[in-house]
């Protein structure tokens, strides 16, 4: 096809070439999928450094198991499932995960004071501060969610994966994934209401 635009090889093509020993093809697969793999690990671990390490482990393992990949599922889904299992193994062994999941400190316990002391003509800034405060509170509350709910919420909220992919990663039906995401949101709203924030 002389003169045509070079067609980007599909993941499956690259996998076939990598299975035949083409290291550059596997490098291209790494480049294409590194972010999705990294974010899955990050959702499980909550630490960028640990997630980077686990993502590397996942690619190394995927390369060694490449001969077993038959193409029944998308390569990315297969790869992320490997990364997720590795991240869960790491999560079990990390004591810092205890800190990550521990009850967050009440960092904004004195927030009403500084808001009330702001001048009346800075209403927009007050609102921005209130929004930022809400944001931080939600982040802290997400860490207090049960693991299954939090995992589903973070994977779905990352924008990297479809519900089908998350279902494959977590090993549960799509309906369960959706329920967990919905339940996570409901619990978060309940917790926000308990600390004095309610829109309903």
């Amino acid at each position: 096809v002389t003169g045509a635009e070079p067609v980007e090889a599909s993941d499956l093509d690259l996998v076939r070439r990598a299975q035949a020993g083409d290291a550059d093809a596997f490098g291209e697969l790494v480049e294409r999928n590194r972010r999705a793999v990294f974010r899955a690990a990050l959702a499980a671990l909550g630490s960028a450094a640990e997630a980077d390490d686990v993502a590397q482990d996942a690619f190394v393992m995927a390369y060694r198991k490449l001969a077993t990949f038959r193409g029944d599922a998308a390569f990315r889904t297969w790869l992320i499932a490997i990364a997720w299992r590795k991240a869960l193994d790491r999560r079990k062994s990390l004591s810092r995960w205890l800190r990550f999941t521990s009850t967050p400190p009440e960092a904004d316990a004195d927030a009403p004071n500084w808001i009330e002391h702001m001048p009346a003509d800075q209403r927009t800034q007050e609102e921005d501060l209130a929004a930022a405060q809400l944001q931080n509170k939600v982040k802290l509350l997400i860490r207090t969610l049960p693991r299954k709910l939090r995992d589903a919420l973070l994977l779905a909220g990352s924008g990297e994966y479809t519900y089908e992919q998350i279902s494959h990663i977590l090993g549960v039906p799509v309906g369960t994934v959706k329920w967990r995401v919905s339940e996570a949101r409901r619990v978060l709203k309940q917790k926000l209401a308990a600390v004095g924030h309610a829109h309903d």
């Binding site: 790494v30 590397q56 190394v60 209130a130 939600v138 982040k139 997400i142 909220g157 924030h197 829109h199």
Partner: protein, 203 residues
């Protein structure tokens, strides 16, 4: 006041706040050079299984087995013959101390190797052992072996070879016969008449 402010954030409903919080939590990228690091690791860490399979050729397996056999032979050759102080005691104990006919000696029989060691060597080794050691324990064997120089050990081994093998001491089973005793006769006590002899007069 705070609640009033939060209620003022109508545009930012809670769902949107949750979405933003999730994105913030995951707002990280893999460190630079990720692809190069993965490929470098693949080159640096070959597959363990394939490495092992490549290494374990039949020739190497045979060589490893031969080396293991050689090490075992050397260990057996340099090992002390037996706990020497036990042999005479075990052999003599039942003959004098155990009167029951059906009982067998409780300690294990002396090994042929122990019987091969001459009595003089046994006594010397027994003297070299610390008095409080319990025979048969690994650590004690190490202490006993360390206390004999290789030259002494070789001389004792030569002496053991020059002495004819001693037959193991066989102890016939002891038989306890019932104690037989005749009728006990009690003879009557006869008291004869007393005689009073007068003392001689003092000088």
């Amino acid at each position: 006041m705070t609640e009033r402010l939060w209620r003022g954030l109508e545009a930012d409903d809670t769902d949107a706040a949750i979405d933003r919080a999730v994105r913030e939590i995951l707002d990280h990228e893999p460190a630079a050079g990720f692809r190069q690091r993965v490929l470098a690791r693949l080159q640096r860490e070959p597959n363990e299984a394939s490495w092992l399979a490549a290494w374990l050729t039949p020739v190497r397996l045979t060589a490893a087995a031969a080396a293991a056999g050689l090490v075992l032979a050397v260990m057996l050759w340099t090992r002390p013959a037996a706990p020497p102080a036990d042999a005479p005691v075990v052999a003599q104990k039942p003959a004098t101390a155990d009167p029951l006919p059906q009982s067998q000696p409780k300690s294990p029989q002396p090994t042929p190797a122990a019987n091969d060691v001459p009595a003089a060597a046994n006594r010397r080794l027994a003297r070299q052992q610390p008095p409080a050691t319990a025979p048969g324990r690994t650590s004690d064997r190490r202490v006993a072996a360390a206390s004999v120089t290789p030259a002494e050990e070789a001389a004792e081994r030569d002496a053991a070879r020059s002495v004819a093998p001693i037959d193991p001491i066989t102890i016939p089973p002891l038989r306890v016969q019932p104690l037989e005793h005749g009728e006990i006769l009690i003879a009557p006590v006869v008291v004869g008449p007393l005689k009073i002899v007068p003392l001689p007069p003092p000088r």
